[in-house]
């Protein structure tokens, strides 16, 4: 399912201009990372994709749907959104109910919902915690519950706001695996992230925001090597790219193997 953000401007109450003429197309099945400094407008843009915010000027199309002409509930059939702060999202008494809320409201049968919930909890590694109260879990696990809630909705489009924040090694690997599975299944994924290693490992396209505008948009290998451009968004290239640049290696290695190949070539 394709997304079109067409020259969107959005101002929060108090005259805070958060989006300033943003235009963006995301093709069906694309995996796109949205990066930039805190306050750049990333979360505001993401909240336009599921209709939580409506454009002040311009329009947002999800599939053929104009978000101004559809309710958040309607848009939820197409877009699932995992918040940056899990506590903005969680409200049910058990993890199972929390994750069931989405599919149930999309009109899935009890049996379909139960299956979707079970699969989603297994995927995020919380299969054993279905009966726990969400607030008895540590914040990193609460965040995985919100991810499970999004997965269970089985929407063509997923928006993940800082999915790796606060996760340990296992959590980050798990989130990475889930992104890969979603990509294989042809789903469209947009992730807001400060985690440049996660960005380099899983996202083919990178969009950079600063001051409410998109300042760069392209292939990960192309964008992540431009340290001056990234600095304008208060972001640094991934660690491997910084090292390659410090050593004067040609190219933009996004994996360790690619780095070592470049390094070996130069040594010879």
């Amino acid at each position: 399912m394709e997304i079109l953000v067409d020259d969107v401007t959005f101002t929060y109450p108090g005259n805070v201009l958060a989006l300033d003429g943003v235009t963006l197309t995301v093709a069906s099945g694309e995996a796109m990372a949205l990066i930039g400094e805190n306050g750049a407008g990333k979360s505001t843009l993401a909240r336009h994709l599921n209709g939580l915010l409506k454009p002040g000027e311009g329009r947002v199309l999800v599939g053929e749907w104009d978000t101004r002409e559809h309710t958040v509930a309607q848009l939820a059939q197409r877009v699932a959104f995992a918040f940056q702060n899990p506590d903005d999202q969680l409200f049910a008494r058990t993890v199972r109910d929390e994750v069931a809320f989405g599919p149930r409201n999309l009109g899935r049968s009890a049996a379909e919902t139960a299956t979707a919930v079970e699969m989603a909890l297994e995927q995020v590694g919380l299969g054993g915690r279905a009966d726990a109260h969400p607030y008895d879990l540590p914040v990193a696990d609460r965040k995985l519950v919100t991810l499970a809630a999004v997965l269970a909705m089985e929407t063509p489009l997923l928006v993940l706001d800082e999915p790796t924040a606060g996760q340990d090694a296992e959590g980050i690997r798990r989130v990475g695996d889930i992104v890969e599975q979603l990509k294989d299944a042809g789903r469209t994924i947009i992730a807001i992230t400060h985690d440049m290693e996660f960005c380099a490992a899983h996202f083919g396209r990178v969009v950079v925001m600063a001051g409410g505008q998109i300042i760069a948009d392209g292939a990960a290998g192309e964008i992540l090597r431009q340290s001056e451009l990234l600095a304008r968004a208060d972001v640094q290239p991934p660690q491997l790219v910084r090292l390659a640049q410090a050593l004067g290696l040609p190219g933009t290695p996004l994996t360790r193997a690619a780095f070592l190949d470049l390094y070996e070539e130069k040594q010879q």
Partner: protein, 278 residues
């Protein structure tokens, strides 16, 4: 400044201890970072240092813990609050919700400590500048971005000038530049102002660059303790739930291919990695 002796703690109804016979001494002005998988006991230890355990979280606490000369189990939370500052992992838990502006939010702790208004204003201004929040001073705390809220949470604690500052993942919502700025600030606070820093964090490369000491927790016990570069230059950290620095893993693989520096410790920071591959 912090002395823990055989500290064992069970959360209510928990069978296994969250802290297991833990002994630890942190001198004044040390910047000590603690790492480990989620569930290893990092947050629990942080809660014990601030007195949330046992005053707020019940459960069973054994052993002895002293912070700035106070026996934590015997000292009321209100008294500890004057000495130990705590920054939550989630800034949304820190912000009071009772204040209309960032400036008022930072002043909240000082109001409760009875600081005179002129001094209060000066200290709040200093903190706004230090944390890069001047432009947001008159905005509502809840209208800030996640990263700005995290800086506000730190400011609202630091303004009380604690002797010990305990932080639980204070940079999880911050961009890389913002995270580095916080680590630099903590380095300065420990070095110049002798504030003792206890920081739970997953950010190995920043810890290696800025902290004095690293502790690794697993199953509520300290399993490693020492200078950060020595402890963190280990590609096997992942089995402890810690993501090694990308440079350590890279150098480890390089050696297997006969590349890079053949002897000496693996690199953790960018500068060390450069030296390794030169």
């Amino acid at each position: 400044m912090i002395e823990a002796r055989h500290l064992t703690y069970h959360y209510p109804r928990a069978e296994r201890p969250a802290l297991n016979d833990l002994t630890l001494s942190i001198p004044a002005g040390q910047f000590c970072a603690v790492l480990g998988a989620n569930g290893a006991g990092k947050s629990t230890l942080a809660y014990a240092l601030t007195g949330f355990i046992p005053h707020f979280y019940r459960g069973r606490l054994e052993g002895k813990l002293e912070v700035a000369g106070n026996d934590v189990a015997q000292t009321p939370l209100a008294q500890l609050a004057g000495t130990v500052g705590f920054v939550f992992a989630n800034p949304f838990n820190q912000i009071t919700g009772a204040k209309f502006t960032v400036r008022q939010e930072i002043a909240f702790g000082l109001e409760n400590l009875g600081v005179p208004p002129t001094e209060m204003a000066a200290r709040v201004d200093e903190m706004l500048a230090r944390m890069g929040l001047e432009e947001a001073a008159d905005r509502s705390p809840i209208a800030l971005s996640g990263g700005q809220q995290q800086r506000l949470a730190i400011a609202s604690v630091l303004v009380m000038r604690p002797q010990v500052l305990v932080l639980d993942e204070p940079t999880s919502q911050l961009d890389p530049a913002g995270s580095e700025a916080i680590f630099r600030l903590l380095r300065t606070l420990a070095g110049d102002q002798e504030i003792t820093i206890f920081l739970a964090s997953h950010k190995v490369a920043l810890i290696a660059e800025f902290a004095d000491r690293a502790l690794i927790l697993s199953g509520g016990q300290i399993i490693d303790d020492g200078a950060p570069p020595a402890i963190l230059a280990d590609p096997g950290l992942e089995r402890l739930g810690i993501i090694p620095s990308a440079y350590t893993e890279l150098a480890h693989l390089a050696r297997q291919r006969g590349l890079g520096n053949a002897g000496g410790p693996l690199p953790v920071t960018l500068a060390q990695a450069e030296a390794f591959f030169r």
